[in-house]
Amino acid sequence: MKGLLIISGLGILAMLAEIFKFKKLLLPIVLLGIIAAFALNFLEWQTRLDISYFDNMISFDKLAIAFSGIILLTAFFWFILANNYFDKSSSLVDHFALVLFALVGALMLTAFKNMTTLFLGIEIMSIPLYVLAASKKEDLKSNEAGFKYLIMGSFASGFLLFGIALIYGACGTFDIMKMRMFIENNASQLPLFFYVGVVLILIALLFKVSAAPFHFWAPDVYEGSPTLITALMSTIVKTAAFAAIFRLFSIGFGSISEVWTSALALIIAASLIIANFSAAMQSNVKRMLAFSSISHAGFMLMVILANIRTNISLDAIIYYSLAYSIGSISAFGILYNVSRKGNEDISAFNGLSKNNPLIALCMTLAMFSLAGIPITAGFFAKYFVFTTLIGTPYKWLLILAIITSAVGAYYYFKIVIAMYFNKSEDDAPLNIENSNKFVIIISTILILAIGIFPSFVSEIFKF
């Protein structure tokens, strides 16, 4: 909870930076703030405080702390990457404030105990992102991205609100635990509109994680937004939305899982197929990563689908979020540096192994991790998903996941091939600023470290 408060405070502080002229100090302050939030978060874990705040609106239990830890870690990396990106623009302060507010929303989504907090979290997270997506003001594509994201996102929020209203109508409460009890006690006499509400909420949240068939906005928005904002959307937003789905559906609607599981299974299957085959066709790396994030969404949903109350699936989803976030932040960080010249196609990576061997190696490992090749983190993430799913009736989904994983390897390796195999047009060595290098290297080390010692993560997040 203290972490959430610190981040909110930072957001307000960031807005003041312009007025009180401490713009230069802003980044260190933000980084220190995030570290402090992370540390306090961790302390809450240690002391096992399970207090709920604001009349049980929000409560940082173990699940919430684990997810917010991942989000804060990613945010820390993100701010270092963003350091020189906003340097030149006059609107550094606005950007930082917006991202910090989005972060507040993300943290709320991990810890909500009440439908209103869920809705607030989604809105607090989304509205800054609509602005950020369109933040390259003179770029047509960026404007298009912001506009699309806004319209589609508002629709999803509408669905969410409608769903919440219907469920409130059926249960008479916003509180998730009370709702759960009500469902358990009146399982046989729930009205039809209650189920409609559940499906509407599911649709709204799946929209946020861009699972097929609610994914159509994702490629355009990912491509049009500034690369770093895309990185934000594909890591923090995804993780937060997942935490929300996980909490709401495994805790809130866990006892009526037969209503939504078969629909979810079909959605996962569609996500895997559409995303992987579309990604294989892309030449723009950002679009490719957008589709790849849809496919990863499918994988994470699989964990929710698998036996939702076992510890292993909890481990699995946290590990997956962590592995995916780190791999993505590394990949986007490199893409951001490589595409400085304006070329975002795979051909931008041509000859990177000669121009900057270290970064090429980091990119290779990030791609390996996203593709799920041992001994990277992504492999264990996939492994956990397979293990949780193999004991369920959804074995056909497992087979599908394998087939699409092989397709996935195909397009991730396209980049690896471009780096090592194709010749670049100019042999100018690629210089990367030290701060960015730092993030890329640290995240690469993390990819390997938690890939080789996966128990490290599951030991920390022991429930």
Binding site: Y383, V407, F421
Partner: protein
Amino acid sequence: MLTVLLILFPFISALIVFFTKGRLARNLALTFSVFEFIIALVAFVLFTHNPNLSILCFNHTWVQSLGISFSVSINGLSLLMILLTTFLVPLIILSSFNNLQELSSKFYGLILLMQMALVGVFAANDGFLFYVFWELALIPIYFICMLWGGENRAKITFKFFIYTLFGSLFMLVGLIYLYNHSGINGLKSWAIQDLYQAGRALNLDQQTAVFWLIFIAFAIKMPIFPFHTWQPNTYVNAPTQGTMLLAGIMLKMGTFGVIKWLLPIVPLALDKWGSAAIALSVIGIVYASCIAIAQKDFKRLIAYSSIAHVGLISAGILSANQQGVQGAIMQMLAHGVNVVGLFFIADILLRHTGTNEINKLGGIRNINPNFAVLFLIILLGSVALPLTNGFVGEFLLINGVYQFSPIAAAFAGLTVILGAVYMLRSYQQIMLGENKDSSFGVLARSEKLILVIICIVVIGLGVYPKPLNDIAEQASKDILINIK
């Protein structure tokens, strides 16, 4: 500890080689790989004195909560495979010394990394560790084929990679399924003995599923008909050293896998489905032999002959009797050596004459009779003439398949006849007859050295196979004890 050293040493040497340049890299790589072979020989000597030495085993918990441990050991089967690997890698590195363009240090580093993964695959005693090494072996060879392959490499290597990855993932599911059924009191474990037990406790339907899931991975790696379509193009397009690694050692990962990781796990399914798998193998033998006869390109011919040979090996293993498995182990050793020799000969032909097309070659014996003799010896080993290394294994294999089914043995036996047809005919056209191209010249020192070493092994193991054969016999007994 010795086993860990066998795995770690190539890894460390690969790191060192990566950071050197030019000639130093290749010389270092050669020295390191020779050292590795010496370590393997030490292991061999220790093993023959006492197979249960604790120095040959190593066990350390890796991920406790998941029951994964870093558990490696050397038993008879893995010892032979490691000997084969460590024997071939120096030869493969040496064979690159006469390449027209100098290869970079990355190339040698990747070969050594590959060696690490291969030794790991053969030594692993933990299902998870086995899978990790299995996948790791794929990455260096992917880069070797991708960076130094012939034209069209991108497409062909992709096919190879996707094919094998696909198979591996199926295997992973199969292994996870076993793992989920392993252990007592909810303590699951990846240890090989626990997986054996878990597998045998399953009913027929479950075993069938596991059998096919795992078998597909091995069948693709070997490759067995109808999963072989990646193989000829990959072999032809890869750089010679890559082809040698693929055919000489990587192929054995598949057959090794069937022996150690499939036979003892699913005896019921093997009873029911073994004949189907044998049928596939035998179809592969006849099919690949017929295609080999029609080949005009020598390298491609060897690629197809390799499918035929491995078909026989897999039929022998799947017949699951003493002769079959023992013969398969012996034939794996022989085939590894011979096929590396043959691919090296194809490489020499290509470098000295500029072509691998059988029709364009001819009369090389007139120019270089020494080469002709060495070629002939390796070729005879490959067609399994008595007193060459190929004979012991092939004899036992056909014997083993015959015990399973005389009809299958009749078809499998065709490999001997058809093999002689395409091998001897290509020899006749390439080496004998009139000179079509007089540019062949003399062999370089390192080329001669490699061919002589291989010929010594071909004849030596043909005349006196006993030490290896004893180990193979014991190893196959140890495996089959689990089935009966």
